[in-house]
Symmetry: C2
Subunit: 461 residues, 2 copies
């Protein structure tokens, strides 16, 4: 009984373990059997969780007729790798049963030459539909939508609609409503399958149509589509062209992928990683990708330490400065990163705009003033006690005053930069999640070193 197997719950990791053991033990017959018992989405997940060499073995063990299904659920990078290895005719056959948008998704990332060959080996009608789907940019409503719609006119009766649907036979699994259009295909409203089922056969469509459904413009960016789905709890939405003509339909399952990608994007970008970075990418490929980020960091930290270089004479006199100098930049970096993250998140969920930015800036400044003064006192006292009783320096008192002053300055600068950077970068079309952190810490490092060592120079020289 499927319930007792309780497969999709905690046993999923056990399945993975058993599969892994069979794979390590070289029992390929068993592995093949296990693989073909798992749902395609879980096979894809298992492939993604496996290092490259074993992954190639697994891919070859999947039954040919399931390859298209598995491809559909794979991460872009891995999917492209395997799709590009397949013969065009094979790829065309494997993807034939997928929905148009998923087929277009798979083909969209492949080299033009392969796509042409795959299209050539398709039936004419399929080819035209895919070519049409491929003509919309992947990251817009047009790229997300499906074009197999059921449309009816407002004046027909429910009974006729029901008969029409029954005759048509196959609605796709995700169909939750049919659309009402006028004689020129302009979108008028939608009728949910629920409404169809609960209305009387002799009513006409116009009696039960929902006019409150807002269609999505075909060129709306996918992130905005995702935001609309989230905000309004949508399951599906009609897509119209610039004349208001109904051209397709977006369903939540494809939007969830966009939401996941965008959500992962900020997190990964802030560490200089690509959003689809394959956890199990080969060493050289990973090293290359991350080297860039380390290189950028090296440049910025060299710039920051050059500030210290200016104060070499002061440090020579009071070595304690060398010990204390990382504290102020570090605290400024943390305070700035908190503001930066909050603003990046606020922008990405659409809470922050030019309307409320002034208010937000004032608030962040207020927060950093409070925390600046608080931690200036704490750090001042700690430093005084430390250099009076443990490390010993005749300058214990001066050092504590200097570091407290620098702390207040740098926390305020950190908050200002953290709030302003994402807004400025957005104007310049730069991804703040990707480069905001580096620019911010460069600022807080430089200001941190400069304010601390600068104040010290004023005091001691």
């Amino acid at each position: 009984m499927p319930i007792l197997e309780n497969f999709e719950n905690e046993s999923s990791s056990n399945q993975l373990q058993r599969l892994n053991e069979a794979l390590q033990g070289g029992m390929f017959v068993q592995v093949r059997m296990m693989l073909n018992e798992l749902p395609p989405a879980d096979v894809a997940h298992f492939l993604e969780s496996t290092p490259p060499k074993e992954r190639d073995i697994l891919w070859r063990l999947i039954n040919t007729e399931r390859e298209g299904q598995v491809l559909q659920f794979l991460d872009d990078e891995i999917r492209n790798e395997y799709a590009a290895q397949m013969e065009p005719a094979e790829l065309a056959a494997a993807t034939r049963d997928l929905e148009i948008d998923d087929q277009a998704d798979i083909l969209g990332d492949l080299p033009d030459k392969i796509v042409k060959e795959v299209l050539a080996s398709m039936r004419v009608q399929d080819r035209h539909r895919i070519e049409h789907a491929l003509s919309y940019p992947e990251d817009t409503a047009g790229g997300l939508m499906n074009t197999n719609l059921v449309t009816v006119r407002p004046q027909v009766t429910i009974e006729v609609v029901m008969r029409y649907i029954r005759m048509k036979g196959d609605l796709t699994k995700t169909t939750d409503c049919i659309y009402v259009v006028d004689s020129e295909d302009r979108f008028l409203g939608s009728v949910s399958l629920c409404a169809l089922l609960t209305s009387q056969p002799d009513q006409i469509v116009d009696d039960v149509v929902d006019h409150e459904v807002h269609p999505i413009a075909i060129d709306l960016p996918d992130a905005d589509v995702a935001r609309l789905f989230e905000r309004r709890d949508l399951i599906s939405a009609p897509v119209v062209d610039d004349q208001g003509k109904l051209v397709g339909r977006i369903t939540i399952d494809d939007v969830v992928d966009v939401i996941m990608q965008n959500a992962g994007h900020s997190l990964m970008s802030m560490a200089g990683l690509g959003e689809t970075d394959d956890t199990f990418a080969p060493i050289i490929a990973s090293a290359k990708r991350r080297a860039l980020w380390l290189g950028i960091n090296l440049i910025t930290v060299m710039v920051a330490v050059s500030v210290i270089g200016v104060f070499e004479e002061t440090i020579k006199i009071v070595t304690a400065l060398a010990i204390l100098q990382p504290i102020v930049p570090s605290m400024g970096g943390i305070a700035g990163t908190q503001t930066l993250t909050l603003v990046i998140r606020g922008l990405s969920v659409g809470h922050i705009s030019s309307n409320n930015f002034r208010w937000l800036m004032m608030k962040e400044l207020g927060v950093s003033c409070i925390n600046g003064v608080l931690w200036a006192i704490v750090v001042g006292l700690s430093v005084f006690l430390w250099f009076n009783f443990v490390q010993f320096s005749e300058y214990a008192f001066q050092l504590s005053v200097i570091i407290a002053g620098a702390m207040v300055i740098n926390l305020i600068v950190g908050a200002t930069a953290g709030a302003a950077l994402p807004m400025i970068m957005r104007r310049l079309n730069i991804d703040a999640a990707l480069s905001g952190g580096v620019v911010l810490t460069t600022v807080t490092d430089m200001v941190g070193f400069f304010s601390f060592l600068g104040l010290a120079t004023v005091f001691f020289l």
Copy 2:
């Protein structure tokens, strides 16, 4: 015509602007009209995007009968604030028309006393259903599910089912299938509305039922529910208790909220912010929350700089060390954070387990060795040139060798710590997204200072 208004697209921000202008101008009658024209989800979004004082004014301008709808879409923190301000009877009335799971969601976070009063002012039947829903932990399948289901037996005909549904009248908007159960309410399979519509009236349910639908256990954590929905592209799923009895149904719209929350969680946690931190929280509340994080950072950075204190004598002799000392900790921190982020993300999407962790560790070590050697050479050369031609120090050559050696050590330590920390913390049930970064940078700072200044002491003393 609703299409030409094109309301949900880019005009959404214009709407916000117009609303804001009306609000600033004190034109409350217009604001009220605008607010009541917007969908409740957009009103909630607008409230979330508004500073506290103006937000209170807006809340009072919303028509009473729409308050429940708006509450449903608000972030937890703001929702609790307004729900707690309402009279119990008022709150009961406002939420009456919501789905059971959404009602339970709103009530679940309120103080027990208020919940009791609200429940007391409800009709008996409603009260029992809500009490039932509240009895499941909010962060499990039980807390996400709805209990208003349509169930049928396998032997009835489609015609009877259709008549039954028509008689019942109101299916909820998100109903996409009906469930088939045996005489003891055990889940047998589901029939999609599509299948109902396209099958012949004289067929029986058993002919069209889909047995491939796997039910979800009622105590499955919500993050796992979300992962299942994502992975399998589900729109809805049945929920069963430990005897396999059908008890409810989870729909994608509630799961999207979980996905969003979990996705935001890692990003916000890594900066020491709560996932639901209100962007427009009052200054004092924000300052308090973030002070903790700054305090923790202060302790760790003090620990790290105490390492520098050990080498005070060496720095006294070669002041150039004070200038260069931030470079190695900074690079180690970046390399470690990259690995840490990758592993946290891999764990959260379920790609990493004990099966493949060894492989991943080896890969990360490989990556850090390559980048360690590469950047050691670059930084060694840069330092040599700098201290030979610009800053001047008789130790230019030694400094470049020391910093190169320390760089290799710290990048390897960073990668090891970045990979191991999330796994160790997971064992100890600590949230790696929250505290992994602090622990990591404490490690890379200490090892960075120690390896650089330690090597220098060996060379120079």
